[in-house]
């Protein structure tokens, strides 16, 4: 996009919108769809239309925590769940042997189909314009964002702008000694926008991530690997999905070995990570193979999953072999791996560095504190992962639209959704490395389950106008059935009998001595909802998901209540709002470090303030007193 020297680019007014979304990655598409569906006139700009909902890394959606996020997105009226349900090649439920809190779905996606389906949905959506265009800078007047200007000179105006530029800001690809400016997968990088953000006064950090080589599946000897099939059961991310894809494609498991490690060891001097060529901070949870081998040099092998990238392609993703070693070394590595001895490499793995915005510069609505009307969402906020991006994109889109429509922002708290945990972590604590969701980041994990995402969020989705009435009615009916069935279990007594004894024996459970409420019986670890229900008189057909809810709610009632109590406490502190203009330097007694941090983060509530690192309970006590004092002064004065 070089212009002829000396020629001034002429800018023209290209139109006015309610919301402009810059980017059409996983964050951008959710943001654009949400805003448009909420009735905001929305423009979505992206560097290349070929990159809509592109997965630059593994062809998979979901997994622990992430899979729950997809369900949350779905319950709020987002698109990711629908889209993956249309385009998976394999679906599995993970952690089935563990408790319900940590169960999660994961799908292998047909990459190209995924993109195509998403693009189609966008194209079909009213109020939404998808257009190719490289945004070079923002139109900012007196601290308010008014629009964007594209490299072609088109100036678009809007009430709010959402930046979802992902891995593209000053992107740089590194393969061994080779380095060049680029977005993921040789897409064009976004350079001017990054400089522009810096000029506007934003703090940026440099992060790094990487991806493994792809090989041609025709040249893989799968007989030397272990098969990893999908589940037969009909599984779906979206609560809407009624059709399930039948002919699933398996993944395959193989391992690195000492030979592979030796090749890496011998070439470490050519590794950009160890030579110092890479300056960006990489994620610990997605280490490159060379990092794994150096840090865990006692391990003789590492798992590698061979994941097909789709049905209409032979490309296979070598999961576990993320690397930025020189191409030559990558090929030697591949040749040492059982099943890949003769595999043809189609694309080399690479590392990519990019700029991200320090997320503590955002309000929990994802609006920037510096510039009103400007929102950022997705990898630009220092996260990594499609689901993390999509979750933020949805919230950014919702809040950009709400702002444009003159409404209060929607903020999910840590007990409502993983999305709430994610955003709260980002804007309250910031992040020193690309941030990935983990179940252990959620203190109320037991409440943030895969199975109850609809119960948690459908109401909100409906309120903000993203869940259609028809679906909402269905949801209410389900909710009602659950309550009814719980009530039924609570009042219905089961008496000892031969059929009861038989069931208990078959389940290795203690025999029933005296009559017992169905609910009590269900609390026994050996018994499932189905088991107990089979002892009860027929009472109408109960859908599986209703039975599942009853089982979980009854079985884990003690723990659930414990967490609910904690939540109640937390919510009281969330409700105590802090004025945005609070001058912390005026509050005597707050420790210097805490004062500094609070001034930077500007938490919106006492609850958020208490999670800022470096802020102690005594600082919070003083803050509380100070806030009350202010209220009192206003009341009396």
């Amino acid at each position: 996009m070089n212009r002829k020297e000396g020629l001034e680019m002429k800018s023209y007014n290209a139109g006015t919108y309610d919301v402009i979304v810059v980017g059409a990655g996983h964050a951008g598409v959710e943001a654009g769809l949400a805003a448009a569906r909420m009735g905001a006139k929305t423009l979505m700009l992206t560097i290349s239309l070929e990159g809509v909902a592109f997965m630059p890394c593994n062809p998979s959606v979901g997994g622990p925590a992430k899979g729950v996020v997809v369900r949350e997105i779905d319950a709020l009226g987002g698109e990711m769940g629908h889209n993956i349900d249309k385009t998976y090649i394999q679906m599995r439920m993970l952690n089935t042997r563990k408790g319900p809190a940590v169960r999660a779905l994961r799908a292998q996606a047909d990459k190209q189909l995924y993109q195509r389906a998403m693009k189609e949905t966008i194209e079909e959506t009213e109020n939404l314009t998808l257009r190719q265009g490289m945004v070079d800078h923002l139109i900012v007047e007196e601290g308010v964002c008014k629009g964007v200007v594209v490299a072609t000179g088109a100036a678009y105006y809007a009430k709010s702008v959402v930046l979802t530029t992902g891995v593209y800001l000053k992107g740089k690809i590194i393969i061994g000694e080779l380095q060049y400016e680029s977005g993921p997968n040789n897409m064009q990088a976004s350079v001017k926008l990054s400089d522009h953000l810096k000029a506007l006064g934003f703090d940026l950090v440099r992060f790094k991530t990487g991806t493994p080589p792809r090989v041609n599946g025709r040249t893989v000897d799968y007989s030397k690997t272990e098969i990893q099939p999908g589940d037969d059961a009909p599984l779906a991310f979206s609560y809407d999905t009624k059709e399930f894809i039948k002919d699933q494609i398996p993944c395959w498991l193989t391992y690195t070995n000492l030979e592979t490690h030796k090749i890496i060891q011998e070439n470490l001097d050519r590794s950009p990570i160890f030579s110092g060529a890479i300056v960006g901070t990489g994620p610990r949870y997605c280490p490159s193979i060379e990092t794994k081998i150096v840090r865990f040099n006692d391990k003789n092998r590492h798992q590698l999953f061979l994941e097909p990238e789709g049905k209409a392609t032979k490309e296979v993703y070598v999961d576990g072999l993320s690397t930025s070693m020189p191409e030559e070394v990558q090929r030697k590595m591949l040749a040492t791996i059982p099943g890949l001895e003769h595999a043809e490499m189609m694309r080399p793995g690479y590392a990519i560095e990019y700029d991200a915005v320090v997320p503590t510069q955002l309000w929990p609505s994802l609006e920037t504190k510096k510039i009103s009307g400007l929102f950022t969402a997705g990898q630009i906020n220092g996260t990594s992962g499609y689901e993390e991006a999509a979750g933020q994109g949805l919230m950014g889109g919702i809040n950009a639209a709400r702002k444009a429509l003159g409404k209060e922002p929607l903020i999910l708290d840590r007990s409502e959704a993983y999305i709430g945990v994610l955003i709260d972590d980002l804007v309250t604590k910031g992040t020193k490395e690309p941030y990935r969701l983990l179940t252990s980041r959620a203190e109320y994990r037991l409440l943030l389950r895969h199975d109850n995402a609809d119960l948690r969020l459908t109401e909100i989705g409906h309120q903000i106008g993203l869940i259609p009435d028809e679906r909402y009615e269905r949801f209410l009916a389900k909710k009602h059935l659950i309550e009814q069935e719980r009530q039924y279990f609570a009042v219905t007594t089961i008496k000892p009998s031969e059929s009861v004894d038989a069931l208990m024996k078959s389940k290795d459970a203690a025999l029933l001595r005296e009559p017992m409420k169905a609910e009590q019986l269900l609390k026994r670890p050996e018994l499932s909802y189905q088991d107990v229900a089979s002892l009860l008189p027929e009472h109408g057909s109960i859908p599986v998901e209703v039975g599942e809810q009853v089982e979980i709610q009854v079985k884990y009632e003690g723990y659930i209540n414990k967490q609910l109590q904690q939540v109640e406490k937390m919510k009281r502190m969330e409700k105590k709002k802090i004025p945005q203009d609070l001058d912390y330097s005026k509050i005597d007694g707050i420790a210097t470090e805490a004062r500094q941090k609070l001034t930077d983060v500007r938490p919106i509530s006492v609850g958020q303030a208490s999670r800022v690192s470096g802020v102690n309970p005594s600082d919070i006590a003083i803050l509380l007193v100070y806030l009350e004092e202010g209220k009192l002064a206003r009341r009396t004065g």
Partner: protein, 459 residues
């Protein structure tokens, strides 16, 4: 943060004979009621009434203290919450015991200034008082910080940190299986393994808690009261033990008229030595006050050194003193052993019962070694070794440790019931968090750091 039920000792420690354990919050009345035995249940009594009864340890069923309990229902209370005040007459030890029992009832120890803070936040006190509240919080937290700092360096925190590291290993091992279900290199945590590891942790917590009494004494000094009739040599004993002339010694009976306190370390046991006015019937007003005070002190003593003049026949006053001792640990000193023995040694032995009797002379410095040994062995009688052991002394820490113990007990129970490990994990995590509050480490990233430093994760 707010609105749970809090409790604290609300009279300044050591002042006056009555100490109050005050509770405030929604469960104040029910919590107190669980410990209270009186003619009525506290949940039934009228507001702003006071009731006589006993505080009973609900687990051991044994009566701890006779008390007067006032019940004040909201909103006409200092904090505008339900408030209960338990008036204890006994010494520091029994007040602390009552507080500990209260804290076992799901009641949290109040932070410094918290009652006042609540009063303020609930609109009970006015703007001009707000500043004072701030000062209070500030001053007290500074103090608390200092204590915390010195504790940080202490053996206790090393011990707690070790314990937390153990817990962290367990947590990480569970988490890795959850977040990376396909990762094949981590030990799969079963309830059996969890149970075993959790039991170890519970044992450790129990061990630390068993040092609680010693810890408190190490911090505050074992309150040791020297009593006896006038002129038997009490002040001389104090001077001997502190190796200095701190108290005036004369041959005039009734020399010491007020209480003299000195701190001294006897073979590793810190003593708060209290010399008293000799106890006798007297008409002298000043001396009379001193005598009354001596009797009060006896009530709160943790160790009593009772002196008898061996050179004189036992008097009724001597005999009454033996009764005043009650159940408090005591050592009997038959003093002035350098002079001819006049007192009946049989009677002394009979009055002393189980308590050790030593012959001493303050003039010849005889029997002092034996006395020091006797004190040390009384203190270390529970098979707790000295020196290397860490002691938990702070009431807040004790309360946290007890909560940690109950959390780990929940974990054990969950494991027994065969609940999924990620449920058991919730209790283990809580144990870890509670112990973290003791050492002031509540950073939540630790677990994630452990995960990634320990296991080779990620695709």
């Amino acid at each position: 943060m707010d609105y749970d039920t809090i409790a604290a000792i609300s009279t300044p420690v050591g002042e006056g004979a009555i100490s109050i354990v005050r509770l405030s919050g929604p469960d104040a009345i029910s919590a107190a009621d669980r410990l209270f035995q009186g003619s009525k249940s506290l949940s039934e009594v009228h507001s702003h009434t006071i009731h006589y009864g006993k505080i009973v340890d609900p687990q051991e069923g044994q009566s701890v203290e006779e008390v007067m309990v006032s019940v004040m229902r909201k909103p006409k209370t200092f904090t505008r919450e339900d408030v209960v005040e338990i008036n204890c007459h006994g010494g520091l030890t029994s007040v602390h015991r009552v507080l500990e029992l209260v804290l076992d009832q799901n009641v949290r120890l109040a932070e410094p200034g918290e009652f006042t803070k609540r009063a303020f936040l609930n609109g009970r006190i006015d703007l001009s008082q707000a500043e004072a509240v701030m000062d209070l919080i500030r001053a007290k937290t500074d103090q608390a910080m200092n204590v915390a700092m010195s504790q940080m360096e202490g053996k206790l925190s090393i011990l707690i940190r070790k314990l937390r590291d153990r817990l962290l290993e367990i947590l990480a091992a569970v988490e890795v299986n959850i977040d990376y279900p396909e990762y094949d290199d981590a030990e799969v945590m079963t309830n059996n393994i969890l149970h075993e590891k959790a039991s170890e942790v519970r044992q450790q917590i129990d061990r630390i808690l068993s040092t609680a009494r010693q810890g408190k004494i190490l911090r505050e000094g074992l309150s040791t009261v020297i009593v006896g009739r006038p002129n038997v040599g009490k002040s001389s004993l104090l001077n001997q033990l502190v190796h200095e002339s701190k108290a005036i010694v004369t041959n005039v009976p009734g020399t010491t008229r007020d209480v003299i306190e000195e701190y001294v370390n006897v073979r590793g046991v810190p003593l708060k030595l209290i010399d008293t006015a000799g106890i006798r019937e007297t008409d002298d007003i000043v001396e009379k006050i001193g005598v009354t005070r001596s009797k009060e002190l006896l009530q709160s003593a943790e160790l009593i050194l009772l002196l008898v003049n061996g050179n004189e026949k036992l008097t009724d006053e001597d005999r009454r003193l033996f009764q005043l001792i009650g159940k408090t640990p005591a050592i009997i000193l038959l003093n002035k052993a350098d002079l001819p023995l006049e007192a009946s040694i049989d009677e002394v032995a009979q009055l002393a019962g189980e308590r050790p009797v030593l012959k001493t002379s303050m003039i010849n410095e005889k029997g002092l070694d034996e006395l020091e040994k006797a004190i040390a062995s009384l203190f270390f009688s529970q098979d707790v070794s000295t020196g290397a052991e860490a002691y938990v002394s702070n009431t807040r820490h004790i309360a946290l440790l007890k909560q940690a113990r109950s959390a780990i007990n929940d974990a054990l129970e969950a494991a027994d019931q065969g609940l999924p490990v990620d449920m058991t994990q919730i209790d283990i995590k809580r144990t870890w968090d509670l112990l973290g509050e003791i050492v002031g480490d509540t950073v939540s990233d630790r677990l994630i750091n452990e995960l990634f430093s320990k296991f080779c994760l990620g695709k």
